[in-house]
C-alpha cells in the first residue's frame, strides 16, 4: 500500500513537473549564460555578455540570466543544474572548459537545450558554436603589415591550442602578404586573462623595437602598453576604438548576438536542431572594429576590399603554397587547408618567431 502511494506520488510529480516545464516554455524562453571571466572583463566574456543583451533587446519572448567567473569542473555542473531547476531551458556555455559539465547535464535533461562555445562534444540537445575569427585576424594582419616600419610585430598569446595558433597564423599570412619582411614574435602567457603578464609581454616586445602589438588574450592590457609607448595595437574580442582611438589599427571583434538571436528564434519556432556552427564574416558573427585615427584611407580601402572578397567567396585564406616556420611545405600550391585541419592546427606558418610546446 505504502509503495503504491509512493508510486502514485512519483508519477504525479513527474507529470506535474513536465507540465510545469512546458508551461514555462509557452510563456517565455528562459536562457542562461555561463562566463569564464567577469562579465565586464573588457574582452571575451564581455563580448558574450553584449551578445546576450543584444538578443534580449531583439527578442521579446526571452528572459535571460548569467553567471560570471564560473569555475570549470564540478562547480560549473552545479550552476547549470540550479538554472534548470529554476526553469531555464536554454544554457549557453561560453568557455571550452565547460564542455564536459554541459555534456553530463545534457544527458539528464533531454528537454533542455545546450549550446557550447568552442568545444567538440555534441548531443541531440547539445550543439556547439564558434566563429571563423581567423578571417578577421587575416584582415587585421593586412593592415598591420602595411603599417609596420620596424617589421617587428609582437603577438601576446594565451595558450598553444589550435584556436590561438590559427589566429597567429592567419594574422601572419595577412601581414606577410603585403609585407614579406614582417616577423611576428609570440609570447605565451599561459592564461586567458592576466593583465599583468600581458602587459609585461607587451613591454618586452616594445623593448625589442616592435611597433605593433597584437593579442589573443582577453584583457586590453597590451593595448595599454602600446598606447604608453606611442606605437600601434590590434584589438581583440570587443571593439576597443572608444578607449584607444589613436593606438588602434583595428579590432578583431566577436558579434555573438547574431548567433544568440538566431538560436533563440529557432528554439521559439521549434526548428532548432543540435549542430556544429562555425560562422564567419559572411554571417556577421566575426568582423572588424573601427579603424584607428592614424590609419590612412589607402590601408582601410585595401582591407575592406579583401573583406568583400572573403564574404563573396572569391578569396580564401590558408591557400597554398604555405610553409611552416621550420621551412617545411605544409600546403601545396592550389590546395586550401580543409576545415578539419584548421580546427586541429598545431604549427606556425613561415614568418612566426615562436615555439609551440610539444605534447
Amino acid at each position: 500500500m505504502k509503495n503504491l502511494l509512493i508510486l502514485v506520488l512519483a508519477v504525479f510529480i513527474a507529470v506535474f513537473g513536465f507540465n510545469y516545464e512546458s508551461n514555462a516554455k509557452e510563456s517565455k524562453i528562459k536562457a542562461a549564460w555561463l562566463y569564464v571571466g567577469p562579465h565586464n572583463d573588457g574582452g571575451w566574456s564581455q563580448a558574450h555578455n553584449e551578445g546576450r543583451i543584444y538578443a534580449q533587446k531583439h527578442l521579446p519572448y526571452i528572459e535571460t540570466a548569467y553567471s560570471e567567473s564560473v569555475p570549470e569542473g564540478a562547480p560549473c555542473e552545479k550552476i547549470i543544474r540550479d538554472y534548470i531547476h529554476k526553469g531555464y531551458t536554454v544554457i549557453f556555455g561560453t568557455s571550452f572548459g565547460f564542455m564536459d559539465s554541459m555534456y553530463n547535464v545534457a544527458k539528464d535533461y533531454p528537454k533542455v537545450k545546450f549550446e557550447h562555445c568552442s568545444g567538440y562534444k555534441t548531443r541531440k540537445n547539445m550543439g556547439t558554436y564558434f566563429g571563423r575569427m581567423y578571417q578577421s585576424d587575416y584582415l587585421s594582419g593586412l593592415a598591420a603589415g602595411m603599417m609596420t616600419k620596424t617589421n617587428y610585430i609582437g603577438f601576446v598569446a594565451p595558450f598553444p591550442i589550435p584556436e590561438v595558433i590559427r589566429e597567429i597564423d592567419s594574422f601572419t599570412i595577412g601581414a606577410r602578404e603585403v609585407n614579406p619582411k614582417v616577423k611576428v614574435h609570440v609570447i605565451w602567457t599561459n592564461s586567458w586573462f592576466n593583465p599583468v603578464k600581458e602587459r609585461s609581454a607587451a613591454e618586452t616586445f616594445i623593448a625589442n623595437k616592435a611597433d605593433i602589438i597584437a593579442s589573443g588574450c582577453d584583457s586590453p592590457a597590451s593595448i595599454e602598453g602600446a598606447k604608453k609607448a606611442h606605437i600601434f595595437a590590434v584589438g581583440y574580442d570587443s571593439d576597443n576604438y572608444a578607449k584607444f582611438p589613436n593606438t588602434l589599427i583595428t579590432s578583431r571583434v566577436w558579434h555573438w548576438g547574431v548567433f544568440y538571436t538566431k538560436v533563440l528564434k529557432e528554439i521559439h519556432n521549434g526548428t532548432w536542431k543540435s549542430s556544429q556552427y562555425w560562422g564567419g564574416l559572411k554571417d556577421g558573427i566575426v568582423g572588424l572594429g573601427k579603424f584607428g585615427n592614424r590609419i590612412p584611407k589607402k590601408v582601410k580601402e585595401y582591407v575592406l576590399n579583401k573583406e568583400k572578397e572573403i564574404i563573396n567567396g572569391k578569396f580564401k585564406i590558408f591557400a597554398g603554397p604555405i610553409y611552416d616556420n621550420k621551412g617545411k611545405l605544409r600546403i601545396r600550391k592550389g590546395q586550401i587547408m580543409p576545415d578539419k585541419d584548421k580546427l586541429s592546427l598545431q604549427w606556425f606558418v613561415k614568418g612566426v618567431v615562436g615555439n609551440i610546446p610539444n605534447k
Binding site: 567577469p38 572583463d41 567567473s69 599561459n190 593583465p195 599583468v196 602587459r199 609585461s200 609581454a201 592590457a221
Partner: protein
C-alpha cells in the same frame, strides 16, 4: 640585428627588471625587520594583496598615484597589526596566524575586487632622469631613469641597513630577536619593539603591493601578486636578514621575470610553461644555495624567531 640595438634592448629590459624588483624589495626589507625582532609573518602575500587593492582603488578614485600609494602602504600596515595582536599580545602561533592573514587577504580582495576588474588607471608614477647620476653610461639609464618610488626604495634599503647595523635602534632590534628576556632586562620594551617592526613589515608589504598595481600593472586582478609575497619571504633568507643584500635578491628576481618573456620573444625552444615557472624555480635554487652559505658562514636566523615572548614567564 646590430650590436647597439642589442644593448638598447638590454637596457630597456633591465630597466623593467628594476621596476619588477622594486615590487619585491619593499616587502623583503619589511619582513627582514619583522623577523629581526622575532616575528615570523607568513602573511606577506595577503598584506601585499591588501596594499595592492587599496592602492589601486584609492588611486582610481582620487586620480593621484601618490595618495593611492600612501593608502596601500597604510592598509598593509593595518593588516600587519592583526598579526601583531595575535602573535605578540595573544602569543598565538605565528605560522597559523600568518597563513590566515594570507588567506584573508586573498579572500577579502577577491570579494571586494570584483567590480574593479578591468578598470585601468589613467595616472601612474612618472619616470624622470635623476640629476647627474642618470648621465652615467648604461647604469644611469637602467638605475636612474625611474620613478620616485624606485628612488625611494634605493634610499630605504641603505637607510634601513644603516639603522640596523649602525644605530642604537638597530642594536635593540637585533637584541630583541636574539634574546627577548635579556633585552627586557636591559630595559627594552620588547612588546613595543615587536609591534613597531611588525607594523613596519606590513607597511612595506603594502608598498610592494601598491607599487605593483599603481606603477607596474596598472590593473586590478584577483590574486595579482601571484606568489610574490612568498618569494619575498624566501628572499629574506637569500639576503641573510640584511637589507642591502635584499637589493640584489630583488633585482635578480626582477631580471628573471623580464628574461622569461625576452627568451620567448627571441624565439627560444624552451617551453613557455617552464619559462613561466622560472622565478619560482630560481627561488627554490636560491634558498638551497643560501642555506649552504648560511651554514658555512655560521649565519643563522634570529635566535628567537617565531617564539612568543611573555614578560611574566621567568
Amino acid at each position: 640585428m646590430s650590436a647597439p640595438q642589442h644593448s638598447a634592448i638590454i637596457i630597456s629590459l633591465l630597466s623593467n627588471a628594476i621596476k619588477a624588483g622594486t615590487i619585491l624589495l619593499f616587502p623583503t626589507i619589511g619582513e627582514i625587520f619583522a623577523e629581526r625582532v622575532g616575528i615570523l609573518n607568513l602573511g606577506v602575500e595577503g598584506m601585499m594583496l591588501i596594499g595592492a587593492f587599496f592602492g589601486f582603488i584609492v588611486t582610481h578614485i582620487t586620480n593621484n598615484p601618490y595618495i593611492g600609494f600612501a593608502a596601500g602602504v597604510a592598509a598593509g600596515g593595518i593588516a600587519a597589526l592583526i598579526h601583531a595582536f595575535i602573535s605578540i599580545t595573544l602569543r598565538g602561533n605565528q605560522i597559523v596566524s600568518g597563513l590566515a592573514l594570507t588567506i584573508f587577504g586573498a579572500g577579502f580582495t577577491t570579494f571586494y575586487g570584483q567590480r574593479w576588474i578591468n578598470m585601468n588607471l589613467n595616472t601612474s608614477f612618472q619616470s624622470f632622469p635623476f640629476p647627474i647620476l642618470s648621465k652615467i653610461p648604461v647604469i644611469g639609464s637602467i638605475l636612474f631613469n625611474q620613478d620616485i618610488i624606485v628612488y625611494l626604495s634605493y634610499i630605504l634599503a641603505v637607510l634601513m641597513w644603516f639603522i640596523l647595523y649602525k644605530t642604537m635602534i638597530g642594536i635593540n632590534i637585533r637584541a630583541v630577536g636574539e634574546n627577548a628576556k635579556a633585552s627586557n632586562a636591559m630595559g627594552i620594551n620588547v612588546y613595543k619593539v615587536r609591534y613597531i617592526w611588525t607594523f613596519f613589515g606590513g607597511l612595506m608589504a603594502g608598498a610592494g603591493g601598491a607599487y605593483l598595481t599603481i606603477g607596474y600593472a596598472p590593473f586590478w586582478l584577483d590574486g595579482i601578486t601571484a606568489g610574490r609575497g612568498w618569494i619575498a619571504i624566501a628572499l629574506v633568507i637569500f639576503a641573510m636578514w640584511d637589507p642591502l643584500k635584499a637589493v640584489f635578491g630583488a633585482y635578480l628576481f626582477g631580471s628573471i621575470n623580464a628574461l622569461q618573456f625576452q627568451l620567448q620573444a627571441a624565439g627560444t625552444t624552451i617551453p613557455s610553461a617552464i619559462l613561466n615557472m622560472l622565478p619560482y624555480l630560481v627561488t627554490f635554487i636560491a634558498i638551497v644555495a643560501s642555506s649552504i652559505i648560511v651554514k658555512a658562514k655560521h649565519i643563522r636566523p634570529p635566535k628567537e624567531l617565531g617564539i612568543p615572548y611573555s614578560r611574566e614567564e621567568k
